[in-house]
Symmetry: C2
């Protein structure tokens, strides 16, 4: 299993010890083809199902925020009481399906160039992100 070694190397080179718990979390987060949008709660449920490790909720919180600080995860802004995270850490746009409350990544090529004409003196633009709400 090559991927596990990759996770271990990535963690070590980030100054994070490759613990059993972190490796299991890496598998769930990064061993997949598409972007993963999740809450702590959904991640926790998946871990209970897919991993034989029993990982405490505190560790899941610790790990997710550790990964966020290393820029391996991005926090996402939504109108819910739970915090969302995104394995796609690039600046990108989303569809939000209001029926299922699911996020779908838009590629930059899916969106025409966005032009912001107004400037705020002394301020620089850090990111431009679009949320497109969709429903049936």
């Amino acid at each position: 299993m090559n991927k596990k070694e990759n996770f271990i190397n990535k963690l070590r080179s980030s100054g994070l010890r490759p613990t059993r718990q972190r490796i299991e979390i890496c598998k769930v987060l990064y061993d997949r083809k598409k972007t993963f949008h999740f809450t702590i709660d959904t991640l926790s449920k998946i871990l209970r199902k897919k991993s034989k490790e029993r990982i405490s909720l505190a560790t899941i919180y610790n790990t997710v925020y550790a990964f966020k600080n290393k820029n391996y995860l991005k926090e996402i802004t939504l109108n819910t009481n739970k915090t969302y995270f995104d394995t796609n850490v690039t600046s990108h746009h989303h569809f939000l399906d209001e029926n299922s409350n699911r996020l779908i990544d838009l590629k930059n090529s899916d969106v025409g160039k966005v032009k912001i004409k107004r400037k705020i003196p002394g301020k620089k633009i850090k990111s431009i992100e679009i949320l497109v709400r969709i429903s049936d």
Copy 2:
């Protein structure tokens, strides 16, 4: 005082009884020139300062959500633990100043036309909103 009568009429015609508390809240929210972006907490502090009515926190919550349901307020999505509201209920874009965590409305004319090229089968676009993060 003409504005107070306006608030009373607006409330009554919305099926909301014009109570002392609701009128005080209307004054803080709508008796101003520019869009107001706020949390329950900031609204509560302003009410304590500006109004001699002592309005319970429960009533502030009740009223804000009543106004939101009548489409007199809009809930806003931000990376914080508190819920934000906006007196500008139209679909519009924002600057978010990451230093002060303040929102600034963008006029539609401040933003070039946004083109979403991708379609999701069976889904319709409800709104397109841009968040432009800025900082020093």
